[in-house]
Symmetry: C2
Subunit: 212 residues, 2 copies
Amino acid sequence: MATERTARRRRDTPRKGDLREQAILRTTEQLLERDGVEPMTVEAIAKGAGISRGSLYFYFGSKQEVLTALVARTLDTLTQDATVFPDDETTPPHQAIEHAIDRTADMWRRHGRVMRTAVDYAAVIPEIGDLWTATVATFTEVMTGVLVRAGVPEGDGPADATALAHTLCWMTERALYQAASQPVPDLARAITTCTEIWFRVIGHRDGTGSGG
Amino acid sequence: MATERTARRRRDTPRKGDLREQAILRTTEQLLERDGVEPMTVEAIAKGAGISRGSLYFYFGSKQEVLTALVARTLDTLTQDATVFPDDETTPPHQAIEHAIDRTADMWRRHGRVMRTAVDYAAVIPEIGDLWTATVATFTEVMTGVLVRAGVPEGDGPADATALAHTLCWMTERALYQAASQPVPDLARAITTCTEIWFRVIGHRDGTGSGG
DNA sequence: CTCCGATTCTACACAGCGCAGATTTTTCTC
DNA sequence: GAGAAAAATCTGCGCTGTGTAGAATCGGAG
């Protein structure tokens, strides 16, 4: 009855097969970039990592689990990169907003395919959805603080900092996803528009302006 | 090579099998609500519509095609309901915004599962993605007009009406999707937050207030 | 050299899809 | 309302790709 997950086990013990695990993830990202999720078969991943299909199931319980691990690794990096600076209370709100958006966009530039896959399969592979939601939640939390510091009322009403931050974070996610999915991605433009909206919401009318 | 689509044909001639087509769509929406996409097998749909699995392929070339048809039908209704009034130049901007958001939310209430499925599979089933994108594009167009009437500069810069409308439309979509996906959906709250942001973006500070 | 866990491989069973071809039911024409 | 064409339906096959079982190999400790 109890459906087994997570292959057979392996979680700690710094054995040598950890290299294989890395190789699997590396190959997966490559194949993902080249082919996309569906055309990418478990066979291909295994071969790319130098093992047979059956062997892969020693490391991951399923194709989805591989994908999930890859997404998890990427989102960890993202959260690290993008939220530390804005979370600092001494960072001015405008800079915090710009920083968070810029860093996130950077992640979309460097690991666009993984990011897109995460969004695309967030609903199909619940674990990925959870990871994504958790990440956005972290952003929301941090940005709520930023909004408060910018003068938006604290509280949990639908027009208070938390709700606004939440919706704006999802907006930013969507905008970058959209931008990154275009045949000719223009992240810069998306950044500008998002920043503009964030700024308008906190009220201070002062520009991204100057530039170009 | 030329891969055939759309089952065998059937397009005009008001034959009687049109009822079956309707029955298939009806059953699909029901099963979707009960089970979700993946657990819903073609077998089950066919049975629900009173025919055998093989017969279903007379009407639709694949499971995905069925889904696509269902989504298309739903989005047609949505576009009809939500964009006509705001598109009227004499409609005051605030009302236009409220109307569009309200009607869209209504669609999420009544056909939440179909709407969610559309979003969830927008990337997996390209045809659905196209339908969704086209719908949002229609909204964007209409709402661009509304923003312009509200005083937002026309033009195609990243901070002009089109870009803002685009991003805000996707924001609204995402917010409603989020809200509708919660265990206890609270569309009303999402509506309030979105409306607030739209209002803040067009600058006029005046309430959702004056209910009824 | 032997044992044990870690790793790997080969082979199998299965679910669900889409298609082929035969068959039955409608619909149309006279 | 008989007969032919078109529409609608059925049964059964074959395929792809997954996940699992169980046997074989490797590598270091004793």
